[in-house]
Subunit: 647 residues, 2 copies
Amino acid sequence: MGRNVAQKLIGDHLVSGEMTRGREIALSIDQTLTQDATGTMVMLELEAMGLDRVRTETSVQYVDHNLLQTDEKNAEDHAFLQSAAQRYGIWFSRAGNGVSHPVHQGHFGRPGLTMVGADSHTCAAGALGMLAVGVGGLEVAMAMAGEPLYISMPEIWGVELTGELPPWVSAKDVILELLRRHGVSGGSGRIIEYYGDGLVGLTAMDRHVIANMGAELGATTSVFPADDAVRTYLAERDRAEDFTELLADEDAAYDVHEHIELSQLEPLIAAPSSPGNVRPVREAAGEEVFQVVVGSSANPGLRDFAVVAEAVAGRRVHERVSLDVNPTSREMYADLAREGWLFDMIAAGARVHQSGCLGCIGMGQAPAVGRNSLRTMPRNFPGRSGTDEDAVWLCSPETAAAAALTGEITDPRDLEMAHPEVQMPGTFTISPDLLTPPLPAEEARRVELVKGSNIRSLPTFDPIPDEMDLPILLKVGDDVSTDEIMPAGSRVLPYRSNIPAISEFVFVQVDDTYSSRAVETDGGHAVVGGTNYGQGSSREHAVVAPRYLGLRVVVAKSIARIHWQNLANFGVLALEFDDEADYDALTQDDVLSLRGLHESLRASDEVSAQIGDREVQLRHRLSERQVEMVLAGGRIAQYAQSTAAAG
Amino acid sequence: MGRNVAQKLIGDHLVSGEMTRGREIALSIDQTLTQDATGTMVMLELEAMGLDRVRTETSVQYVDHNLLQTDEKNAEDHAFLQSAAQRYGIWFSRAGNGVSHPVHQGHFGRPGLTMVGADSHTCAAGALGMLAVGVGGLEVAMAMAGEPLYISMPEIWGVELTGELPPWVSAKDVILELLRRHGVSGGSGRIIEYYGDGLVGLTAMDRHVIANMGAELGATTSVFPADDAVRTYLAERDRAEDFTELLADEDAAYDVHEHIELSQLEPLIAAPSSPGNVRPVREAAGEEVFQVVVGSSANPGLRDFAVVAEAVAGRRVHERVSLDVNPTSREMYADLAREGWLFDMIAAGARVHQSGCLGCIGMGQAPAVGRNSLRTMPRNFPGRSGTDEDAVWLCSPETAAAAALTGEITDPRDLEMAHPEVQMPGTFTISPDLLTPPLPAEEARRVELVKGSNIRSLPTFDPIPDEMDLPILLKVGDDVSTDEIMPAGSRVLPYRSNIPAISEFVFVQVDDTYSSRAVETDGGHAVVGGTNYGQGSSREHAVVAPRYLGLRVVVAKSIARIHWQNLANFGVLALEFDDEADYDALTQDDVLSLRGLHESLRASDEVSAQIGDREVQLRHRLSERQVEMVLAGGRIAQYAQSTAAAG
């Protein structure tokens, strides 16, 4: 049987495992992408690993998230990232160059490659026939070090597109239609693969729109074939030589099937406050609109801005509306200026901002409470805009332009206007010299990391001793989330690159003496939890910071999946009660004694602990590989040891 | 003897007083300008006054300061200001229209008029032959209500300009030269009037640069004659009919004299962290530069951006430098796009931001600690950029462009480049319909103020009773500043339009029980201070908030001038000890009893107070007019009473 595009990409990069749904596979990774919000931690991880130089074909560090710079921290993060990119052999994209995903596609995207990115919209690269997955920072750091990506083999969901989009309907409406049908978890555990005659009418940038918001369906990633549209895209960027055709075999099959007839689509909109809350624009028509924001990785193409410009040219933005325009990239901003579209938008009343993510990740552009804001962005989770009780809607550029002109939600087909026939320019501005290439290795080794006062090296963590006597510093109940372990918010987040500083906030909402008591306790400590310990956000800080304070062991009734993985990654032993009744018998300040730990972890999944004169039976769920990782002090420590041994 | 321009402007608007240096004069006011940071308070004052409609020829509310919108507060302030502008007959300039001063000059500036503005750079309007003074919010509200402006008659400082500026030297270097000679208080108590042959070579926008930064010399304002340069400026904006010639008489004299030969000037720069810290650029050459910011009210002209664009066109911004460009106004942004200059800057690597003040007032663009940032802005006070230990330099657009290219402070004459001969376009983009004109009175009366959850009406304050028994809730030492009375900062400032909320922070650094004790005390209270009570910032909140909490009387050894004025304006009785030794005898919780207060205030400057069984002699410094104002409960209460009586 023939293979589909996803299977070809996986098969060509399979390091270990079998391509059977649900089984763990390991994939070699060609490229990585990091942005500034996640990248500082990744660079600190590279430093802690003692990596000399990245081993990927291409790694790129972008600066697109924290562009507002209300104090020194963002500028200092940017300087740190620039120096780290120089040190480790990474491309660097400066503040203002634009949003990572479309810039990456334009300069580095290449059919047939794999990529991991510390950003959930990394999947957009599927538009060019890449297999690109958004993952946590440490996974990206490991990929940079040449380690494979471990994932569970996904289902392949074939979405057949037929027909042609009608006027005023565009790529955004295609992915909104999929969200309308299946909601925000419809893609979970799946790769979405698009095929069919309808692809002919979708440019590579249209496909970027669709692939980007696969993340909103919870999909592992999305893939498109590398066909003539991709060939054209690369040729227009003087990169014809980077094209390789990558098509599904004629007899390829899919695990799950879907069909969308493009000619049947109409303008759609996701109502507050979920990307899955989709309905026809006409059903919401007439609602007053106070803000319209055009931009972000979800509608990043020149066409997506040009269609807005042509719709508002010679007209006026409604008096009630702030029309905010965030040009995707510096190159595209230049093209908007050159082609006159920028003039059209400004003259009509638009506020045109620097290139970057901006309002899409709550960096400015926050709307008033309860006042409708229409955005061409990918997400409208409650409060993501920066306003707690916001009312954000997601739509196409066409629908956004209509609302900007009328001041209310309007189906663009109801404007008394011909659909703008946007003519793309013959050439695009291409400024590769604004992307700084990696330094030669010799020169790179001499680069010192530039650390502002708020950036500290990642602490190094030592191996787990064979014998430990650990006081239980904290006992908590069920469903304690990572938000309780390591709060976020504007008081804490600025310290994300400074583990000593951020560790003062660990468990602060639960017990504000924990951090100081932990510091005073020599030889480490333990924490006891109930069921579902560590649920919620995947943040690694919820492990790194308590580990920094001396946490060695977590014992709980059960531990949430991602937090459990993070504990293992950073060398904290996660144990679960054999008998949940033992939870009740433990009290804070009891001492948990472990003896012969190394052998018992290697020998079985059983661990005995002594508490006072009682013995308690515990279990671990670590694989052999993971046992060695935890014993070594975590994945970074293990990597550093193995390279030291090899060197 | 003939009159100079300043004397003509004052003479034509004199309502009362004599034009003798140092004597109080009252001037009728034609125009007002408010921006969003100060405007919300002004609008709340209009509401509290019960004003029906502004009585000025033209009042304009701009939105140019708080544009970042990191939560809902700024968007809600903008909506409030828009509704207040509609209600009171005020022009409204939306977010993104641009920086108030140059936009005002372009659309409303007219020779021979007076203006007050709640912004210290209001003085820039002197470029067109206006008398424009930056004042506190309540003064602006009073001017809107048709009340005159009371000031002390300033000295007139004649600055004669001769000759012509050499290549690479521009208007910014003229005002930096004046700052180099006289420092930041050299203009105190003075109006700076420019005259001489050298004016021929300075356009109205060049003069705007010079007049703007008169504020940095501490001058009351700056004035230029309305000559052919002004005629040309207005004609280019289709406003030829608004021109009136206004020249100094041939035999005009000045109180103080100065001469600047323009051909002798060289590129200058103000080093960190004072606009008065001026030196030749060559003396600082070679210092590494990490950021260059072009924009703000200090260099707002199209030429000021075009010269940067032409210098960087076809070149690359240095790898180390973030070149941030803040187009002054939407109209100018459109012109930069139309003329290709925007393309040149973006293609060279600039980050181009929305139109507004932005980094000039610390709204983003904060540099890294200690890393040099060169700006074409008017001020570099420590920390103003948003970074506590910043290193901000002030310079011309030419010097800024040179640093952007070389990555270090560079005299632009040392670039290997011909001085760009900027050709201004034949026409400018003029978009008056982006400025919303006042509603007709009938319609305006029906407008409801749109108050977000964080905006509260100004409390109304009742008249001072004839008898009071006031516990002394707080006794403080010498030199207590308004920062201690009413802190600013990011925790407190968001509540600037919400007196009940901000009042919880009064004296919080001195005694955090003050606010709650004040609320619990019926019938008002007193505060006792040492010498120089209320020094520092002029903020009105340092009076309004404690008055809201029940403050009726301040007794101190001495009270700082502006705070004393603010106390009177808001109906708090300011008294000073006859004998400073009485300060020592008073303790917190003593009760200050006043009897027959009305008569004693009207009869003399002596006030007797009973404290326990002791009598203490106190004095006030109120004029007859001010006594009535304080007795009425303050200037707003008095205004409201008088109009109610008249109506």
